[in-house]
């Protein structure tokens, strides 16, 4: 009796699941850690070679650097020292890479997007994914505002 019941339940479940066609596919995942896009991504090496065209993923699409703004850079240094130095030393690799000379290997947009949107960058951006593999960890999102990130970028310009 019991086994018949279980069998029937299994059939009902199977039929329902079949009708459903997997179900959740029609709804976009809300999670931060969505699977990478299907289109063939650049490899880490290819993306680094193409770095001048790599702006990353996030809120920043265009940065006009202009003249170095000392006051902004000083503010950026303060923010960096409070929120970043647990993992990043300015000149030497610590837990993550050092920002020294970063503008010779990444675009300003990519840098700001990495600061503001590290989770998505680690999952979907070809350079971000490469760095995740290299450093074994997703960079912490330190909750900087876009203005804060711009200030930190200005500070990075002084690290040559």
């Amino acid at each position: 009796m019991k086994s018949k019941g279980s069998l029937l339940l299994a059939v009902v479940v199977a039929l329902c699941m079949g009708a459903c066609g997997g179900g959740s596919g029609d709804k976009e995942s809300k999670g931060k850690f969505a699977p990478p896009p299907v289109a063939k991504p650049l490899t880490f090496e290819e993306a680094k070679a193409d770095w001048k065209n790599q702006k990353g993923l996030g809120p920043v699409t265009n940065v006009d650097l202009g003249e170095l703004d000392d006051a902004l850079a000083a503010r950026g240094k303060e923010i960096y020292e409070l929120k970043c130095t647990a993992c990043h030393s300015p000149e030497n690799e610590k837990l993550g890479p050092a920002p020294k000379g970063i503008l010779e290997r990444r675009t300003p947009e990519w840098i700001m997007n990495m600061i503001l949107n590290p989770e998505e960058m680690a999952m979907k951006d070809p350079i971000g994914r490469g760095l995740l593999t290299k450093y074994n960890t997703v960079m912490a999102n330190q909750g900087l505002s876009q203005d804060d990130a711009r200030a930190v970028l200005e500070y990075f310009r002084t690290l040559k």
Binding site: K30, A86, N136, A140, G143
Partner: protein, 660 residues
């Protein structure tokens, strides 16, 4: 979404058919699945959010639990009156002061009535208040952090049951003493009860001002057992009502002797009049000591402040301050309907409910329709004030809440049911069983002037659950049950077990508080005395036999993580700051042999663990809250040397930050 619901429904129906096909069940307790659509009504799909927050008292756990409705899912346990190792509450140095009382550090209580703060008689979503019954205390929970931020001890009180029941704008929280005692306390024979024992009503100010809770005044009243309370609203704003039993003033075998008289009293207190008397200086300054404990979200630290002295009003010296409303059969709950006109008294040894009219009460006071006077308190004539009686057909009425459609819902403990009745005609409209032995019931907003969505859900809180869940030895969980009350007939939707005794609960529409949640504490605003905001400032300092470790944590390391020079006999304080600035990234600190608990430190917060190592050796510490792919690597060592050792204090992290 729709298709998922259909599938779920077919599964539910399928299961019903299958189970009935199996001949399982004797029909007992089938209410929950007896009606179609119940499963659909409580199904909150993965990734979807509940409609309501429902705050449950944890009863004798001393805590508050937060569940979502309609799913019943447990969202959080908020430690309030009891220590909680999970969160380090009452174990870390910052929160120990929260549990200080004039009796010393009291790490447990019996939490009873969670009540939401009100503005204009509506739940405003600012705070939740709850009383501790055993060692009289009232706590504030901040609904931006879901943390206990303030606890005030209530002096001249024993058994704080009728509390906190805020007034319409949370001008006051109130408290009545369930056990009368000598006031001030003294060493007397218990048999001198009638002569020496008194009761008090307490009005606590500062409900809407964090850090400002204080005893505004107390009212000295005859030595009855004051049980529950409710504050008026609308026309009855300015009044608070307290039920009493044991008007007999017996002090032994109360089960029998405190139930001899046909009627006890609901005390009606005109607190606006009290304010006038206070302003006129007609109070007495009585000695009383009590603690006020406040947790500051900037210093991340609680302070415990001992206060003394209270203002006491004596009814015989303050005419018009207190009146007694005779109410049959040891009234337990007293509840005022959303219009503020009806005062429902639930005589717990009765079958019927007594409903007093506030307008009639005022008229009776005006006409001086008094039957007698007790210690200067006029007893109003019963017939002059009663609006009607609900002939319920049930037994043991306890508590009443309201929808916004003119209906009242009363719980009946003895007959284990809920009775719905009309506040217009006092006729019974519907009844439904609860499983089993319901105490309080709760309609989100149902105690305020504006029940949410005109009363959509109702929760019953049940004391007994035998045979409702898989058995778990002699101790079984209590339970809550969710009912749909949007239609004419009440419908049982869901059973779920609860923590401790779910004594009472209040709910609020999620949208009222969802957007004000704190996600992390900005490092720039951290004012903790022992904060460390930068790894370069991490250090270890010795002061006699005290060792202070100024440490930081971020995914996934501590700084420092190697510490030497600690000795047996030292008091080692780990002051740890979580440098994360992202939501949902707390870190923990656990150290082998610590005789307290872990630290669980929110992003941007600093907490302190005291550790007193007893033996030399190497002691590992680690992060106890899974934080990243390298969580297992988040660990460190402390070397402990004998008391007379000359190992120098030193610390390091990797190749940097070596000190001394």
């Amino acid at each position: 979404m729709k298709s998922m619901k259909l599938i779920l429904m077919s599964l539910t129906l399928g299961s019903v058919f299958l189970f009935s096909g199996c001949g399982n069940g004797d029909g007992k307790g089938t209410g929950a699945i007896g009606s179609s659509g119940a499963a659909e009504k409580v199904y909150v799909a993965p990734g979807e959010l509940d409609e309501y927050y429902q705050f449950f008292s944890g009863g004798f756990s001393g805590q508050v639990t937060v569940h979502g409705l309609p799913s019943g899912r447990l969202l959080k346990t908020i430690p309030v009156f009891a220590t909680d190792g999970e969160k380090g509450y009452g174990f870390n140095e910052e929160t120990k002061p929260m549990l200080m009382t004039t009796f010393g550090f009291v790490p447990w209580d019996d939490a009873h009535h969670p009540k939401l703060s009100q503005t204009n008689g509506e739940h405003d979503g600012n705070f939740l208040f709850i009383n501790g019954n055993n060692t009289p205390r009232v706590a504030r929970i901040d609904l931006t952090t879901f943390e206990t931020t303030e606890i005030i001890q209530i002096p001249n009180t024993a058994g704080l049951h009728g509390s906190p029941y805020p007034t319409q704008n949370s001008e006051y929280l109130v408290a009545g003493t369930r056990f009368s005692v000598p006031i001030p306390q003294e060493d007397v024979s218990i048999d001198t009860y009638k002569e020496n024992f008194k009761g008090t009503f307490t009005f606590i100010s500062g409900g809407q001002e964090p850090g400002k809770m204080d005893i505004a005044f107390q009212i000295l009243v005859p030595g009855y057992d004051y049980d529950l309370a409710t504050s008026g609203k609308g026309p009855s704003h300015g009044w608070t009502f307290f039920t009493s039993y044991n008007v007999e003033q017996e002090n032994t075998l109360k089960e029998k002797y405190a139930s001899q008289y046909d009627k006890d009293y609901i005390a009606a207190v005109n607190w606006k009049k009290a304010e006038e008397y206070i302003a006129q200086g007609k109070f007495k300054e009585w000695p009383a000591e009590y603690y006020h404990n406040f947790y500051n979200d900037k210093t991340h630290t609680a302070t415990a402040t001992k206060k003394s002295g209270v203002k006491v009003l004596i009814p015989a010296e303050c005419p018009g301050l207190v009146y007694y409303l005779p109410t049959p059969k040891s009234p337990h709950g007293v509840d005022v309907n959303p219009t503020g006109e009806l005062i429902v008294g639930s005589g717990k040894l009765s079958a019927d409910l007594t409903v007093h009219s506030f307008a009639k009460m005022l008229a009776a006071i005006e006409a001086e329709s008094f039957d007698q006077e007790i210690d200067g308190i006029p007893v109003l004539n019963f017939e002059a004030i009663v609006a009607g009686t609900v002939a319920s057909g049930g037994l043991g009425p306890l508590h009443t809440e309201f929808d916004g459609r003119g209906n009242a819902y009363t719980s009946f403990f003895i007959s284990s049911e809920i009775v719905k009745w009309s506040t217009e005609t006092f006729e019974v409209l519907d009844r439904i069983p609860s499983y089993y032995s319901i105490g309080h019931l709760s309609i989100p907003g149902g105690g305020s002037m504006k029940p949410w969505e005109n009363g959509k859900y109702m929760i019953s809180m049940n004391k007994i659950t035998k045979d409702r869940y898989l058995p778990t030895g002699p101790e079984l969980a209590h339970s809550a049950q969710l009912y749909d009350i949007s239609g004419d007939k009440m419908e049982l939707l869901l059973d779920f077990p609860t923590m401790g005794e779910p004594h009472y609960a209040q709910g609020i529409l999620a949208s009222k508080i969802i957007d004000r949640q704190v996600k992390f504490f900005p490092l720039e605003e951290n004012e903790h005395t022992y904060k460390t905001l930068n790894e370069k400032d991490t250090r270890v300092e010795r002061d006699g036999n005290e060792v202070h470790i100024y440490a930081t944590m971020i995914r996934s390391h501590f700084a420092p993580d190697n510490i030497e020079g600690v000795k047996v006999g030292d008091k080692v304080y780990f002051h740890v700051t979580n440098l994360e600035q992202d939501w949902d990234v707390p870190h923990g600190l656990a150290i082998m042999g610590a005789q307290n608990a872990e630290l669980l430190i929110m992003p941007g917060q600093t907490e302190t663990l005291l550790w007193e190592p007893l033996t030399p050796g190497i002691f590992p510490f680690y992060c106890s809250d899974f934080c990243s792919a390298l969580h297992q690597e988040m660990q460190g060592y402390v070397r402990v040397s004998p008391a007379d050792s000359d190992v120098k204090l030193s610390w390091k992290l990797g190749d940097e930050g070596s000190g001394n």
